[in-house]
């Protein structure tokens, strides 16, 4: 076999997997971007993702209805986001620590529910890959657009949840930068006192953003359990929720920055998968470390701090100052 072709095939495979694997990071980190832009650090994303992954999987396992599963995961995420909002906005709890509480609750509760309702690792038929085959249009050809060399192989043939995640980037950019509500989010995160004076309800905005963040974290979990992997396992998110929180810092609180970070992490993950597939003798444990190191280094750039929402992690109470 031609060696150049093999290398190309591997690169295409890595790019395809990279796009797939970016999905949960994108949902969770874009949701977290909303919360952080309004001044709330939700460190419980990992726990919400696990609950979303479980609930979405369970509904699909029982009913076979993928849309219902996705909506359930979103709803569970929304409710947990409400809990987080109540704790951080109304009760003004220290956000780093309360997030750890939510993480532990989500980890424990999803494992508990898994063990009592399922018991063993099961599989489901998740969201199908959209291969856009001519046969579905009535042609007799078995050709699919996803088979188009390189372009089709990389960008087509993903499930609807993958495309949804990437569509979220421009949508969230537009909401945050071009709408009145986005302006309110930014104002509340930057200077809540001033926003409050102008009649913006700081609490209402923060509740909304944290709940959106929770909902998207729930979807992020479901994207693993009913689209990418189609199974549920205890602790299956494996720290991705925490990385999503870091990606928001990494991406300087912008959806495009988050996209860059998510692709970086997912491409390294994809490379690691392919190293295993090809049986290469590379210390993959070392490769997995690189994105974490890179994130720490990226966090150290001084211009990042200037971009950070000024009121991040600071609870707001009227009459302060």
């Amino acid at each position: 076999m031609n060696e150049g072709l093999t290398v190309l095939a591997i690169l295409v495979g890595i790019a395809h997997s990279g796009i797939r694997l970016a999905t949960p990071y994108l949902y969770a980190a874009i949701g977290e971007t909303f919360a952080q832009r309004s001044g709330v650090l939700n460190l419980g994303v990992e726990g919400i993702m696990l609950m979303g992954a479980y609930s979405g999987f369970y509904v699909v396992f029982k009913t076979g209805n993928l849309v219902l599963g996705l909506l359930t995961a979103a709803l569970v995420g929304l409710v947990l986001g409400l809990v987080m909002a109540f704790v951080s906005v109304t009760l003004q709890a220290q956000q780093g620590i309360s997030g750890i509480g939510l993480y532990m609750f989500g980890l424990g509760a999803s494992s508990l529910l898994f063990k009592t309702t399922l018991g063993t690792v099961e599989g489901v038929q998740g969201f199908p890959e959209i291969r856009m085959c001519l046969s579905s249009l009535g042609f007799s050809s078995s050709f699919c657009l996803a088979d188009i060399p390189v372009f089709g192989e990389i960008f087509l043939g993903h499930s609807i949840l993958v495309y949804g995640a990437f569509a979220l980037v421009p949508v969230s950019w537009w909401i945050i930068n071009k709408t009145t509500w986005g302006l309110k989010i930014r104002a509340v995160g930057q200077n809540p006192q001033a926003a409050d004076t102008l009649g913006v309800s700081v609490a209402k905005v923060r509740y909304a953003t944290v709940m959106i963040g929770g909902m998207l974290a729930g979807v992020a979990g479901a994207s693993l359990s009913i689209s990418l992997l189609n199974i549920f396992q205890e602790g299956m998110t494996n720290g991705q929720g925490f990385i999503a929180v870091a990606l928001v810092y990494f991406g300087s609180w912008t959806p495009v920055g988050v996209l860059v970070g998510a692709m970086l992490f997912s491409l390294v993950n994809a490379m690691q998968l392919w190293v295993q597939v090809l049986g290469l003798n590379l210390p993959s444990d070392v490769a997995v470390m690189l994105p974490y190191l890179l994130t720490i280094i990226a966090l150290a750039f001084p211009f990042k701090r200037a971009l950070q929402p000024a009121a991040l992690t600071k609870p707001f109470e009227r009459g302060e100052n």
């Binding site: 532990m104 720290g239 810092y249 210390p283 974490y292 150290a300």
Partner: protein
């Protein structure tokens, strides 16, 4: 006025502050009871099994104290960091690197030096390693403004990967390679490097009779058995208890400890007082990591005697240690009963699983709720504190109106 007067009573306020975490645990257990009911289990039966399993027998008590040991050590580190107002989420990683270096030292030096010396080197090595792993995020925060919550989470992942790399490569048990199973764990440390168990100490002190020979009954029999008969209980517990007292002395009786607390209470004021806030940030993170590293070292020489799956060794202590520290009111001595309580919950969860078929993981969910409740309830202590200040200010400023009203 009567009620207000009551609230102004400082003793009553202090009592409320102490009660809040207890209420938080009760609240978390009540929600746990609702979950149990939803899963068609009897909560009374479940909780009885849990507490009896953890505290009623010598083996239950031994396991509880064995789990309380790393909880307390990690918790002490958390107390120091949180008192300095730096949030160390990285105890998992600090514990893992501590355990890794301890294992490496034990394996390398075990046959070459006397056992007691190797144990000391192992404990110091683990502590130092954890300290470095904690000081790095501290330095990054102090010098470059890197958010320590994120950097410690990243450092956790890096520690886990280093662990896997070492255990699949340089540190793997040669027997695993021979057998071809390649399970990532190290060889067992030489027995000379085992931290003495309580039963060893008892024998050395001359207690050789069993509880049966002494015709002990009831709880006294269990306590005697715990201290004298062979259980898993090791002297790491004593190390942790001594450390708790030392941390108390350090934070409240030394200048450095005072400065750490000052930096945490008000960094601006501390800076005006000439304290280098940055230096104390690095120091408190380093100390925090050192205690987590010591916890890892103690787990290796005291309990596991070999290194295996990093996350199985850290066993979530990096997070549950935060629960213990919070429940102990960020006080080193308060963290002692908190660690025993949560160690008991972890052990009891296992017994509960056997009694009412409710998986042990429920304890993790309950611990998460405890954290949420404790940090949420702080608003009431803050409110009372600020009301106290404003009431006092009011009465000083306007005594006439007070009297008239």
């Amino acid at each position: 006025m009567q009620a207000r007067g009551l609230f102004r009573n400082v003793g009553f306020d202090r009592l409320l502050d102490l009660l809040l975490p207890v209420l938080a645990v009760i609240g978390a257990l009540l929600i746990g009871a609702v979950i149990l009911l939803a899963l068609e289990a009897n909560p009374v039966e479940a909780y009885t099994a849990m507490f009896a399993g953890a505290f009623a027998t010598k083996n239950g008590l031994a396991d509880t104290l064995v789990k309380a040991t790393p909880l307390l050590l990690v918790g002490l580190g958390i107390v120091i960091a949180f008192r300095a107002n730096v949030i160390n989420i990285g105890a998992e990683g600090q514990l893992i690197v501590g355990a890794l270096l301890t294992t490496a030292l034990g394996l390398y030096l075990g046959e070459k030096l006397p056992g007691w010396l190797v144990i000391i080197i192992c404990l110091l090595g683990g502590t130092l390693m954890g300290g470095i792993w904690g000081a790095v995020p501290g330095y990054l925060k102090a010098r470059l403004g890197v958010n320590e919550i994120l950097s410690t989470i990243m450092m956790n992942q890096i520690a886990i990967q280093i662990g896997y790399y070492l255990l699949r490569g340089p540190m793997i048990d040669p027997a695993e390679i021979e057998a071809g199973t390649n399970i990532p764990h190290s060889a067992r440390l030489p027995r000379a490097v085992d931290l003495p168990r309580f039963t060893d100490v008892a024998k050395w002190l001359g207690f050789t009779q069993t509880s049966k020979e002494l015709e002990l009954t009831g709880f006294g029999k269990e306590i005697y058995g715990l201290l004298v008969e062979p259980t898993r209980l090791h002297t790491g517990l004593l190390i942790a208890l001594v450390m708790a007292v030392l941390v108390y002395i350090f934070l409240w009786r030394t200048t450095i400890g005072y400065r750490i607390r000052a930096v945490g209470l008000n960094p601006h004021a501390a800076r005006y007082a000439g304290i280098s806030v940055e230096r104390y940030m690095v120091l408190s993170m380093g100390l925090s990591g050192a205690f987590a590293g010591l916890a890892g070292a103690v787990e290796i020489v005291g309990l596991h005697h070999r290194m295996f799956e990093p996350l199985a060794v850290s066993a979530g202590y990096g997070f549950s240690g935060i629960v213990a520290a919070l429940f102990g009111q960020l006080h080193p001595l308060g963290t002692i009963p908190a660690s025993v309580l949560f160690g008991g919950l972890l052990v009891g969860g296992d017994k509960m699983q056997r009694a009412v078929q409710i998986p042990q993981v429920m304890v993790t969910a309950v611990l998460g709720l405890v954290v949420l409740f404790v940090v949420s309830s702080e608003i009431w202590s803050r409110r009372r504190a600020s009301r106290r200040v404003s009431v006092e200010a009011e009465s000083e400023l306007k005594p006439a109106t007070e009297a008239a009203g």
